[in-house]
């Protein structure tokens, strides 16, 4: 059963074993049905590979099915030729962390399912016969009204991740050097406890761009990811005329830079739309928290800038000005230099070391794990497992709350 899924998804059994921290020999025997899988491992494997529990418990049931009837929808999406091993391995690890997050939240009794009601109400109120961009804009307005985004007229990049997390969405940003994937969204966790996950590749992608990528993926998660397995977006696809992409893009733009935000930021900085300089564009980018081309596109759409000016405005080099104005334009080294040792608190503490592919875990996720440990809800061994690091490394990074008590 497992072997069928691995083959159809283009996943290597040995790599998967390494990612899940299981002996490759044992994993190969499980995959081939030569050894039964302990009951304790079944929920994790089921959540990661999207395979029904009963198929893992009794592989004979699965043998009666055709291979194409066994392959979960998500793996159809991730076996495409545009995707590399790094993408699939990253998805395996993220799905594992999604399972861990569900476990952690059930122990801390801190599960948020707000995304469910919000996504459902947006879906049911959206006219799916309307033009894709209009669907996206209308969904974005509902999203802003239904969350804290609608309460302010400032850029929302700094609160975005926390907001999505509070809705129960898993937000993942990590560098994937070999990958062309810019972002993707899919659902993680066992069927009964699934949640949306949005991913952004941080390799050579600015924070401003990533805000857009994440919200674009939220757009996909609302409308399609649950039904088609996953949505995947690539770096080099500038303009995509696919209706689903147009809808997701319009959703992201309207969520992050609606007209009211553009006007407020321009007014508070004394910016004249008819006379945009590198400095004023940098101010707009710094305050809206989205990249230059998104600011220009939004301004054109809202009638604040003439369409014929768009290309010229997009070509203005604002790097120097933005670097001076916004801390989000700084590299990690520059940031540490400017803000001193206090900023180092999280450096190197979010990286997984036990998996063959190293990932940078979300701050919120790491915080939740460490807090649960400090509240004595989970042991150091459990916390280390959740952070995919060794137990001694966990103690080194976050301290031992029981050091004094131990005999």
């Amino acid at each position: 059963m497992l072997q069928v899924v691995l083959d159809s998804a283009g996943l290597d059994a040995k790599t998967c074993a390494g990612l899940l921290g299981i002996s490759p020999t044992v994993f190969a025997e499980w995959s081939a049905g030569q050894r039964s899988i302990p009951e304790s491992m079944i929920p994790l494997l089921s959540a990661v590979f999207s395979v029904p529990l009963e198929f893992l418990r009794s592989p004979k049931t699965a043998k009666r099915e055709k291979p194409e009837d066994l392959t979960p929808a998500i793996w159809f999406k991730f076996r495409g030729p545009e995707l590399v091993d790094a993408d699939r391995e990253c998805v395996v690890l993220i799905r594992q962390l999604g399972h861990y997050l569900n476990e952690l939240e059930s122990v801390t009794r801190n599960r948020s399912l707000q995304w469910k009601t919000l996504f459902e109400s947006i879906r049911s109120a959206t006219d799916l016969q309307a033009a894709p961009r209009e669907q996206g804009r209308s969904a974005a307005r509902m999203f802003r009204e239904g969350t804290a985004l609608g309460h302010g007229q400032k850029g929302s990049g700094e609160v975005l991740r926390g907001l999505l997390r509070s809705l129960g969405v898993l937000v993942f940003e990590t560098p994937l050097k070999e990958s062309r994937m810019e972002g993707c969204s899919f659902y993680v966790g066992a069927q009964a406890a699934s949640r949306p996950c949005v991913f952004a590749n941080t390799h050579h992608v600015t924070w401003f761009r990533r805000n857009m990528v994440l919200m674009h993926e939220v757009g996909h998660a609302i409308f399609e990811s649950a039904y088609v397995g996953a949505s995947v977006d690539f770096m080099d696809k500038e303009e995509n005329s696919e209706p689903l992409e147009m809808r997701a893009q319009a959703f992201a733009q309207e969520c992050l830079v609606p007209k009211s935000v553009l006007i407020h930021i321009a007014q508070s900085n004394g910016i004249k739309w008819t006379n945009l300089s590198a400095r004023s564009l940098a101010l707009l980018v710094a305050d809206t928290h989205v990249e230059q081309r998104t600011v220009v596109d939004a301004a054109v759409e809202e009638g604040l800038v003439q369409p014929e000016m768009a290309d010229e405005l997009k070509r203005i080099d604002i790097a120097k000005e933005l670097h001076e104005i916004s801390e989000h334009a700084l590299s990690t080294e520059e940031y540490l230099e400017r803000f001193g040792p206090d900023a180092e608190q999280w450096v190197g503490k979010r990286t997984t070391t036990l998996s063959p592919r190293s990932l940078r875990l979300p701050v919120g996720y790491v915080n939740s794990v460490v807090e649960a440990y400090k509240n004595c809800q989970i042991s150091s061994g459990k916390a280390a497992e959740y952070l995919v690091i060794d137990r001694s490394e966990f103690i080194e990074r976050f301290g031992d709350i029981y050091a004094e008590a131990e005999e």
Binding site: S23, P38, S40, Q377, S379, K382, R391
Partner: protein
């Protein structure tokens, strides 16, 4: 009180014996005291791929299993122990308890503690964090939970290991940056022993205490 039939061992304690290539304590328990060292399927799995050590202990594990020094607590073996287990004990109950513990502590410890609690047997684990977390979350603990050094001290007391062998284990653990009780951190085995309160002793219990046993209650066992 008769000797317990098994000692449910966790990977962190077993690793300390594997690192120092010293499995005589387990054989001693089995042959002289009739206590079979056992591991859950989860610990078996863990020892076959253990974090930074990866598959380092597979050969030693296989050898121990083959020689019967260790035995996997699989369903048939578990069922065979139910005769002396508390009323209501079952494989399904053990699995369900293990899953409950696993929400709070690592899988190996979770199923080790769950098996020991279900069967009413002692456990072997060095994970103090798992013990304190279980306590904080009102999860029952095995009585007692022995540490690797309890077994080492016991083997010295009962003449299975001489001082040299015990000091070699200690040195090997220090070399591998393994944790150990404070009494032995900066003292040789013989110097640390007077400051260490062992949880496993040979002989009859000298005090007929009525206190409810805890994870740190001393277990007295007798040669068969």
């Amino acid at each position: 009180m008769p000797n317990p039939a098994i000692l449910v061992c966790d990977s962190d304690a077993l690793v300390q014996f594997f690192l120092s290539n010293e499995v005589r304590p387990f054989r001693h328990l089995r042959d002289e005291y009739g206590i079979q060292p056992a591991i859950t399927q989860e610990v078996d799995l863990e020892l076959r791929w253990l974090g930074k050590h990866k598959d380092r202990f597979v050969a030693q594990l296989e050898k121990s299993l083959k020689s019967g020094v260790l035995r996997v607590l699989d369903p048939p073996y578990f069922q065979s122990l139910l005769g002396s287990a508390p009323v209501g004990a079952s494989w399904a109950g053990f699995q369900s308890l293990g899953a409950q513990y696993e929400g709070h502590i690592h899988r190996g410890e979770a199923y080790t503690f769950a098996a020991a609690v279900t069967l009413g047997m002692p456990a072997l684990s060095n994970d103090f964090s798992a013990i304190k977390t279980s306590e904080a979350n009102f999860l029952n603990l095995p009585t007692p939970v022995l540490r690797a050094f309890d077994l080492l001290a016991f083997c010295h007391q009962s003449g299975c290991l001489d001082l040299k062998a015990c000091n070699e284990v200690r040195s090997e653990l220090l070399k591998n940056k393994e944790g150990m009780p404070k009494a032995f951190m900066n003292s040789s085995f013989e110097d640390g022993l007077p400051n260490f309160a062992p949880r496993l002793r040979d002989g009859a219990n000298p005090s007929a205490t009525t206190n409810a046993p805890t994870f740190s209650t001393t277990l007295y066992i007798s040669e068969i």
